[in-house]
């Protein structure tokens, strides 16, 4: 009987943690970010359905493709970005220890899939034919160079300590011996800084600094193509927060699938709030200033922990 595994797979892709759940929960995370931001600034903030309303409105608007744009690239970019993030969500351990899809080495594929949207944004900005898009893409590319090093270095430290390159292996190791956030505090801080840059939130929202280059790579996007980018922004919040929860806060795992799933969701909310808070208390850095916290602080911190792991000094 193939029908039951097929139904389960369909449910995983469409309901949890797939399409319906990630859109709804991701929308709530983005709403939380906006609400926290508004409350800390003395404003009221949007209602809870604002994200869905935004995406829905964009979907019914006309999509304009500028005549200067390279059509194929312009349309492909948001699609690639969304597809990559959607696949990444299926690889994240939304059932406590297990993810919807799992195989040996899925942690590395996960990190690759989370890098892909950035390339899609660069690609889209470059093919849009707008000067703002090109400058924004250039900034996105330089930021990518800055933040990928600390991100991968801290992730590699985690892989080395867990002695595993699969998501379930990393979570299992933490469930047994305590979260890596405590065992590798420096790599944890490095990861948080790099993740802030990956989310392109302040102080690293340089690629789409609205006061300088309008919306950067997104400038020429409108209608449903822009809605796809908005959705991938929603998925990005979810995926990056979930990645932080997986790599550094894989503890506790109770064994009951529902309890574990709820705990994991709670952790995602926690990390999303941390990123939102950093976003509120910082102004935007200039592009060449962004290298300083990302390489000199984050990469150095991650390197110290990597050396500790290699020398066997982590307990």
């Amino acid at each position: 009987m193939y029908i039951i595994p097929l139904l389960i797979a369909l449910a995983e892709i469409l309901v949890y943690p797939g399409l319906i759940f990630s859109v709804v929960f991701g929308g709530i995370i983005v709403w939380m970010y906006r609400k926290v931001r508004a409350r800390l600034q003395g404003r009221r903030g949007p209602p809870w359905y604002q994200t869905y309303a935004d995406v829905f409105k964009l979907l019914i608007k006309e999509t304009i493709i500028p005549w200067r744009a390279w059509k194929v690239g312009f349309i492909a970019a948001p699609t690639i970005s969304l597809a990559a993030l959607f696949s990444a969500i299926l690889l994240l351990p939304f059932f406590g220890k297990e993810s919807a899809l799992s195989f040996l080495g899925d942690a590395i594929v996960l990190l690759y899939l989370l890098t892909l949207p950035t390339f899609a944004i660069i690609f889209g900005g470059m093919s849009s034919g707008s000067p703002y898009g090109i400058v924004g893409s250039g900034r996105e590319a330089s930021l990518l160079v800055w933040y990928e090093l600390p991100l991968w270095l801290s992730a590699a430290t985690v892989f080395a300590l867990a002695n595993s390159i699969s998501v379930s292996g990393i979570v299992e190791e933490q469930a047994l011996h305590g979260p890596f956030a405590i065992r590798l505090p420096l790599a944890f801080i490095a990861f948080l800084i790099a993740a802030q840059a990956k989310l392109a939130k302040r102080p690293f929202d340089i690629p789409h600094a609205e006061t300088e280059i309008v919306a950067g790579p997104y400038t020429e996007y409108s209608g449903s193509l822009r809605a796809l980018f908005e959705l991938s922004e929603v998925f990005k919040w979810l995926a990056v927060s979930a990645l932080a929860a997986t790599l550094f806060l894989g503890w506790p795992v109770i064994g009951n699938i529902i309890a574990d799933a709820l705990i994991f969701i709670g952790k995602i909310v926690l990390f999303a709030l941390i990123f939102a808070f950093i976003d509120v208390i910082n102004p935007r850095l200039r592009i060449e200033q962004a290298g300083w916290p990302l390489w000199k602080i984050a990469a150095a911190l991650a390197l110290i922990d990597a050396i500790r792991v290699c020398a066997g000094l982590v307990f």
Binding site: Q41, G42, S130, P131, Y132, V214, R284, L285
Partner: protein, 390 residues
Amino acid sequence: MEKIEGKVCSIPVGPYHPALEEIAFYKVYVEGEKIVDALIKPGFNHRGIEKLAMQRSYRRNVQLFERVCGICSDAHTTAYCVAVENCLRIDVPKRAQYIRVIEHEANRIHSHLLWFGVAMHAIGFDTLFMHSWATREAIMDVVETLTGNRVNYSVNTIGGVRRDITPELAKYIEEKLKIVEKGTLYLIKAVKEDKTIKARTSEVGVLTKEEARKYCVVGPTARASGIEEDIRKDDPYINFEDFDFEVCVEDTCDVYGRIMVRLRETLESIKIIRQALKNMPEGKLIADLPYPFPSEDIGRAEAPRGELIYYVKSNYTNIPERIKLRTPTFVNLPATKPMLLGNKLADAPQIIISIDPCLTCNDRLVVVDLRSGRERTVLLQDFIRRRVRL
């Protein structure tokens, strides 16, 4: 992409741009992120205010000049009233002058706090932007209770003011000033202590003292370049000689200096309002007005953006024969070019904002003859002649 020559690429900033609330067009030539050249093009908002003013009576012109600029509306009416009073030799009662001082300084506080918010928004610090505007609400309440309006106060009039300040109102202003002072001190502390603000603003948009003198900049832009000039001290109008205040000068010559000058000036303005409330003399609110006679004079005022000049020429009618105004942005705007050169594109909005441009006050009509490449300003006579021909 408008034009690419080698590695240089031109980026349009404005006239409709999210960072600039004012409509000017900056064509910024960049090499990568570095600005190598800039072209400044105002002229998107010609309204013919001077021509309108020459068709209305002196008193109706007060309401017109208020609408030259929405933010420094009080400075415009003050300068205009001073010009007319100088021209027609009117002695304004001292109480009226003190009330004018209070409104003038409240206007300055609100303008500087508004500017500070916009400047913080330009570097992406929306949190401080919101806090600064929340502080500004207190002074807007003062203005609203004092005059009945939030933008166009309509309180100055030729020869005096139209509204009095009662002791209860004075007490209310004192209360609100405490909130503003606390908020401003917090903003100053935030700017001084936050390392990222310093990294983004210091040594950005440098205008040296020599260049500032060369470009004849005025107001806070000049004071941030180490030039000590303030019309309130240099040529006291509306009884500013009675007040004890400091001219805030910074010698850092950069955007950081301009931020600090404006924030410190806000504190000085609070000081001036307190003195005015304390030493308010008794007396009439408005002087007896004479019949107009042929004469001419100027009125100067220190608007929040710098020196503001009104020229008035009168004749035997109740309509001015000629009115000319020169706004501070008109002299400050060309100075943005040396400020921009050599900086990064990321800093362009905050450099342009750092002079607090107010282009609606500024725009005059300039015609460029493309065939000969000559530029000339259209004079009044040409304007009338063309209209007749049309």
